[in-house]
Symmetry: C2
Subunit: 202 residues, 2 copies
């Protein structure tokens, strides 16, 4: 009781089941006199040989196929039409697999890219918040320093004017004459300080 019939007449599985041996009559050349089931599976050796040939040339012409059959004795028992169909199916399978594989490859790439982008995003996000924080800090200090410089300037101006008044008043009382400020030593420090403070004004 043969269930699986191999092209070439050599069964490679004899487990169980019932199947008639029906010669394939659609064989154009009509040379197939040997019994052959209506559904065949090629032996691993045959498949290997076909795969090798496919690897070299996935799309052999009719002539080339006949040549291949002649060259490869292991395939000599297979109908040329079957060889043709095998190559057709093989190409179809390869195409399908290739498309699926490509899609998956694209998927993987996109996923990896996504991961990187998200990490980068995260990093930038943190950097931004850090910078915003620092910026706020400096903004605060900017105001602080500007204001301070301003106040400092005003304070110094007042100090100077008060000192002027006080000193001139005191001196006029003590000596009876007005004192010329410009003749006092160290006066250049006062004026340069004033200039400096003036520059700091916003």
């Amino acid at each position: 009781k043969v269930r699986s019939v191999v092209a070439g007449g050599e069964p490679f599985s004899l487990t169980a089941g019932v199947r008639e041996m029906i010669p394939v009559t659609s064989c154009k050349e009509g040379k197939m006199g040997i019994d052959q089931g209506k559904y065949v599976r090629y032996t691993p050796e045959q498949v290997e040989a076909l795969e090798r040939l496919y690897h070299d040339c996935p799309k052999p012409s009719s002539l080339r196929r006949q040549q291949l059959i002649r060259e490869c004795p292991i395939l000599s028992n297979i109908d040329p039409k079957q060889i043709k169909v095998w190559f057709q199916n093989r190409r179809c399978r390869e195409k399908q697999r290739k498309e699926a594989a490509q899609l998956q490859a694209v998927n993987r790439k996109l996923t990896a890219m996504n991961k990187l982008l998200m990490e980068e995003n995260d990093r930038l996000q943190k950097q931004v918040s850090q910078l915003v924080y620092e910026n706020g800090y400096f903004l605060f200090f900017k105001d602080f320093f500007i204001v301070d410089a301003n106040r400092l300037c005003c304070a110094c101006c007042r100090v100077i004017s008060i000192a002027e008044e006080t000193l001139s008043e005191f001196l006029s009382k003590a000596t009876g004459t007005a004192v010329e400020w410009v003749q006092m030593p160290g006066m250049k420090v006062w004026t340069s300080l004033f200039d400096f403070l003036f520059c700091l004004l916003p």
Copy 2:
């Protein structure tokens, strides 16, 4: 010359080719006396009916399948085994298509997400450079103000000490006695200024 045999005995394609009518012997019930080629294409009506049944129940049990065949007269001529196989293949097709479609959907989503992430990245990148620029600006000014406050403080200290010396020297010459600073009006301004400047020191 019949090449395509429809389950039900009604051929719908009579192009060419030769095929024997071989009764399928694996039919368990053995009821199939009608001739049936090994390869049939179901009529559009049959496919439609099967699709409808599949839509309701993609995986009918053996019992359910028999029931379906009884209920649907258009399928009554199809071998139960063929029905089984049809559902099998139908499931397989759906699975493949679903997987491919899902993969493409994931791809689209990933692509869209990637685009968004890149845009966001760009935005953040710009924000970061802007903030870094501003930060540099403030950093520069921070140093500037700190240094200035420092210098200001030293300058004021020097001014104060020079003023002290000058004033006391001048007064001692003019009046012949040492003057008590603390008794002078406006002296509180000097000390508060000094305190203020001292606070500004880093």
